[in-house]
């Protein structure tokens, strides 16, 4: 009895943990993804693939943020009700790209005509924008609905400072 009392909870806990783990790592069938989802994911994967070679140049969080800003910029370009707030936009871009600018200022060449890290970052950014414009062309209403979701979600998560649009009237 003592053995059962001791071991049973451990077994139950192990089963529970295994079950929870399986649930949190449920595999995903690619065929179940919508075209919009595939496009979003393909562009993100491609950009990360491109940028991953420059180890240490970008933090994964920065690349994610760059992708989010690109999505919001594409929404501003294609959807009504999402006017770009240039002050907010410039502030966020400066946060992300600022370190790369400092990198170029520290070079010994006074008039460096090419800032390679900055060029790489902007290449990634424009890839994100292009991908988002493609998604927008595929499903304009669905794409613009993402803008409303982002506005709501970021506000709920106390992350409104990441928004680059003017406030809604």
């Amino acid at each position: 009895m003592t053995f059962v009392r001791t071991v049973a909870p451990a077994i139950f806990l192990a089963l529970l943990t295994t079950g929870a783990s399986a649930q949190t790592k449920a595999p995903v069938d690619r065929d179940s993804m919508s075209p919009e989802a595939r496009m979003n994911m393909a562009v993100a994967a491609h950009v990360f693939d491109y940028i991953e070679g420059y180890e240490g140049l970008f933090e994964p969080g920065d690349v994610f943020l760059l992708g989010m800003v690109a999505k919001m910029k594409a929404i501003a370009l294609t959807c009504d009700g999402f006017d770009l707030d240039t002050v907010r936009y410039n502030a966020i871009m400066a946060d992300i790209l600022g370190p790369l600018t400092e990198l170029s200022e520290n070079t010994e060449v006074e008039e460096a005509t090419i800032n390679l890290p900055f060029t790489i970052a902007m290449s990634a950014y424009t890839m994100f924008i292009g991908g988002n414009l493609a998604v927008s062309a595929y499903d304009p209403d669905g794409f613009c609905a993402v803008g409303d979701e982002l506005r709501t979600q970021l506000a709920e998560d106390d992350a409104s400072h990441l928004l680059i649009w003017k406030d809604k009237n």
Binding site: K25, A44, G53, T113, Q153
Partner: protein, 99 residues
């Protein structure tokens, strides 16, 4: 290899950026060198991903990792370290899983 291909691309961008201010047009040697760099970059990219697209129903794990769903309607991609809610980028889930 990926880094090299990216550097090739960046080098081409850099060379292209110089073009408008160049005092002279590209000569034959420069054109040949540029074409060689471009061809090499394309060949490397093709070699890296060429064998991964046999089936449209399989994830390219080199690019996506092994996607998983932590909750219904949510899909996370380990390699790009991003999560999607109903196919749309999710700040909340990405932060929860990867940050």
């Amino acid at each position: 290899m990926n880094r090299f291909a990216s550097l090739c691309f960046a080098a081409i961008i850099a060379l292209a950026s110089f073009a408008p201010t160049s005092a002279h047009a590209l000569d034959d040697d420069e054109r040949t060198a540029l074409a060689a760099i471009l061809a090499l970059g394309v060949a490397i990219a093709a070699a890296r991903h060429g064998g991964s697209h046999d089936s449209t129903s399989d994830w390219d794990e080199e690019r996506y990792g092994k996607p998983f769903s932590p909750s219904p309607g949510i899909v996370c991609l380990p390699r790009p370290r991003q999560c999607y809610s109903d196919g749309r980028l999710s700040h909340r889930w990405t932060r929860r899983i990867y940050q």
